[in-house]
Each structure stands twice: as C-alpha cells, then as structure tokens.
Symmetry: C2
Subunit: 302 residues, 2 copies
Amino acid sequence: MSILVVGSVAFDTLKTPFGVREKIMGGAATYFSLSASFFTDVRVVGVVGEDYTAEHEAVLTGRGIDTRGIEHAPGKTFHWGGEYGENVNEAKTNFTDLNVFENFQPKIPDAYQDSKFLFLANIQPELQLDVRHKMPNVALVGGDTMNLWINIKRDALMATLKEVDILLINDTEAKLLTGENSLVLAARKILTYGPRSLVIKHGEYGATLFFGDGSHPFRAPALPIAEVQDPTGAGDTFAGGFMGYIASQPKLTRSVLKNAMFYGGVMGSFTVERFGPERLLTLTREEIEERFKLFVSLTHLD
Amino acid sequence: MSILVVGSVAFDTLKTPFGVREKIMGGAATYFSLSASFFTDVRVVGVVGEDYTAEHEAVLTGRGIDTRGIEHAPGKTFHWGGEYGENVNEAKTNFTDLNVFENFQPKIPDAYQDSKFLFLANIQPELQLDVRHKMPNVALVGGDTMNLWINIKRDALMATLKEVDILLINDTEAKLLTGENSLVLAARKILTYGPRSLVIKHGEYGATLFFGDGSHPFRAPALPIAEVQDPTGAGDTFAGGFMGYIASQPKLTRSVLKNAMFYGGVMGSFTVERFGPERLLTLTREEIEERFKLFVSLTHLD
C-alpha cells in the first residue's frame, strides 16, 4: 500500500574521514523514499529550487517514486554542509542554507489523497500537523523530529505528537523531549504524549521499539560495521525501511513491527557503507533479504 | 566444572541518585563469584584485611563458593568510594584505598589446581600472567582489564593477553587498547593480540561477541531498565554469568558462547536493580531462567 512522505529534499556537502562530496543529493525525504521504495509505492511532498535538475529527480523516479508532490520553486535548493570526525555519531554543521525550504508550504497533490500511510519527516511541527490534517484518511502516521523543534517549538511539537501513531527519534531527542535520563522512563512519558508506539534509535547499537500497551520492548541490532563512510541519512533510511515494510504488510501486528525494526536496521546499514544515498541506488531486494538473514543470525540463539 | 576467579575482594562506599551505602561488599571477584555460583562451582583467590569478617565471608560460602583462596592479611581491606550522577554509565571515584590489595600476591591453594576454568579479573597484568602460569592445565582462560593498565602497563598487558582465550572489556577499553575508533576494527586488532574470542560490553546497549575466526559477530541485548539503582559490578556480574554458564556446559561450542552472552546480560540486569551485590543474594535460578526467556523475547522475531 502506498506511503506519502513529507520532508526535506536537499543537497549535502559532506566531509568524513573517508572523503569529501560536494552538493550531492540528500534530505530526509530523499533517504526515506529511496529506502521505502524497496518495499512499497512511495510518494513525496517537498520543495526544490532551480538547481535541482531533471537528472536529480530521475534518481527518485528511477526507483518508481512518485515525485509529482515535489514543488519546483524559484531560487536554490536547501543545502546543508557538515562534517564528521573520528566519532561518526556526531555531525558538525558547517552551513545550513535553507533557501526555498525556508518558506516551504507542503502542497499535497489530489492524486496522493488515497495514500494509506503517512510519514512526517523532520520539518517544523506546525507543518507536520498541517499535513496530518490534510490527510485525514491515512491508516497510520509515522513521524520524526529534532532537537531544534524540541527546544524552540515545544508546544507545536506536543500538538503534533498527539496525532502521530509511531514516533521515531534518537536517544538524545528522547531524553531532551522528556527531561528523563533513563531511556525507559523517557519512553514511558512519550507514550503518554500521543504515539502508540515509539522507536528510539541508538546509532551503532541498534534501536528499541516501545509499545504503548506497556508490554516488553523489542530490541533490533545494528550491523557492526568496520568502516562507516558517511552516516548521513542513516536515521531516515531506517525510517524508510521500517515504514515501508509496515506499508507492505496486510495488517499491522506486533510481529510486523518487530520485522520492521529489523528491516529499518538493515536499510540503515547499507546507507552508511557509501557516501550519501549512493548505496541505495545499486541495492537489490535480494541483498536486503540476505542482510536481513544476517541480522537474524547476529541476534538469535540457535 | 569448577572455575577459579582471581581478583579484588573489596568494600565499596557508594552514592547514586537512589541512595548511599557505606562499606558494603564489592570487588570484581565478589560480583563474579556470586554470579557464576548460579551455574557452577566457584573458587576465589583474593586478599582481605582484618575488617573483612566471618560474616562477610559467609555471604560467599552461603552461595557455595570456595573461599579457601581468600588470604587474610594484617591491615584493612581494599576500599573504593565512588558516586554516579544522572548518567549511570560514568562513575566518579572519590577515593581508592588499596590497603592490603596494594601488595597482593595471589596464592593458589593446591586444592584449586584441578579447576577447569580460570577468570583473571581486573588486577595488574603481571599478576594475571603469574596466575595464568600457575594454572597451566585449565581448559579456558577469561580475562578483564581496565584503562589504568592499558595506559601504564601496556607491555605487561600485551604479554598477558597472549595467554587469555576470551577477553571481556568495554567500548572505551577496546578503543583505548587499539587506538581504533571503530569497534569492529578494534575487535579485529584485539583478536590478533592473543584472545580467540572477544566480548565488548556496551553498558545499557548490551554486548557484542567477536570470533577470532572472522565469522560474523553476535549481539546480546541488555534489559532496558527504568531505574538503575547502582551500576557497580554490572560488568563483573556479566563476566560471572558468561563464564559460569560456559563452565556448566560439556563442550564449548558457538551455540554455548551465544547463550553465555545472554546469561551474562541476564545476570548483569539483576545486579543493577539494587545496591551492591544485594540482588544476587536473593536471586533464584528460576528467576534467571524467566529473565533469560524475556531476553529472548526482547530480541527474537516470532
């Protein structure tokens, strides 16, 4: 079933211990949609500038992604510059040129109204809520956010969380959002804010799924990777695999959610192997299934 | 089959957000032996002072632990004072009174010579090597170390590692020991230093077992715990469960090692629920098996 993602479509200029890349494709919606496209039909709503060419868009349509919701505005595309040192878990931002993204007002094509799933990637919480209201008939809403909104737009974020079914954030965001130092206590609090399920991502240590019914959580691994060439987009790729797998299943069960956690980790593990979304462009479903089996062998007793 | 542990038998004075305890039982050999005693016969070699009473020793013998190797020396027992703030992963040392531990020369009772397994808890690497040489007939040697020895006794430590079969250390120690920032690269290096297998402990995120044959690692979870009352001894308790389970099995297979990782995590999860080794004193084998099943449900797909 189809999934709509709303978020940033951007260019990234990146430096890691493994090299430098200038103005390559990036943005949460790019990573999410490429990742989810291995599982289900994907539609994107975002905004780009005049420097976003037909060739860039063809990278998405080449994966079967519906890009009619990508608005082309006068000006330049959102451009982020950042670098990672020896600790790949911490990005240092060199510049954030919002450009056309600064005045982004999500417009949802009529043809997208029958989307069954919605993912609100990390954008201003007011815009997330606006999109949520424009898609009243979706069966399930996933969402992300970031420290910036937790710090400066808390009220708006709390209003948005009321209408998100599954929130996907990382350790730092979960602690900041709740003021709790224990991840378990943080999770318990967040599950009173609206979401019925919560995924907390631990970077190289995997992710934990907390259920709103108070039952025991579920932990999925990350692949121990020798060389993380570029961690950019790992979280959005995780979300794409997680939500994409859910959207591909006839029913949302606990078992589906657990498998989705594994697929999220699998997809994220591919992304970090190369710069930007490069690895996702050569990836095959067979490689995904192979790595899924590897993730099982990494965690399951004989 | 019996396991011999050599390490510190100590008193701890602790402060955590959950309370304060003065001069309670601690030390790596205490946690290790209590934990391992749920799986196999345990013998301890260590040294204590005159303030270590028959009642203290009875806590160990009450769990069936053979304490004939605990030497009683004139003076006071090793006493560590430390505290944990909101971040329970970081201990702040208030004092380290080595006392009789400063001149510890491990003496191994003849009756211990038939031990099949040996665990070299965190003591000076020269003493670890000395003990290793005094126990030439053990089938398997496990070991631990700490940042201090990596920094000031690297050569001695490297000599000891040559004769350790399974090393159990944490993320920080693995990185410091190798100069690698990637845990996978650190693991590969350490597996050229001597150990055939390596367990890297990630605190609240679990632990990873790396195999010397280059095959894929295995990841075991930690239990997401709402309230870690006192993290002291969690790593030594893990080691006790890990080595104790191995010692209880007829053969060392890959499957046994994986299960041992789970039992290590299970035992560690109990210790942090209460101050010091308190929780281990009321624990039952049934509770251990119950939590083992919970660990499986935390990580295994349906």
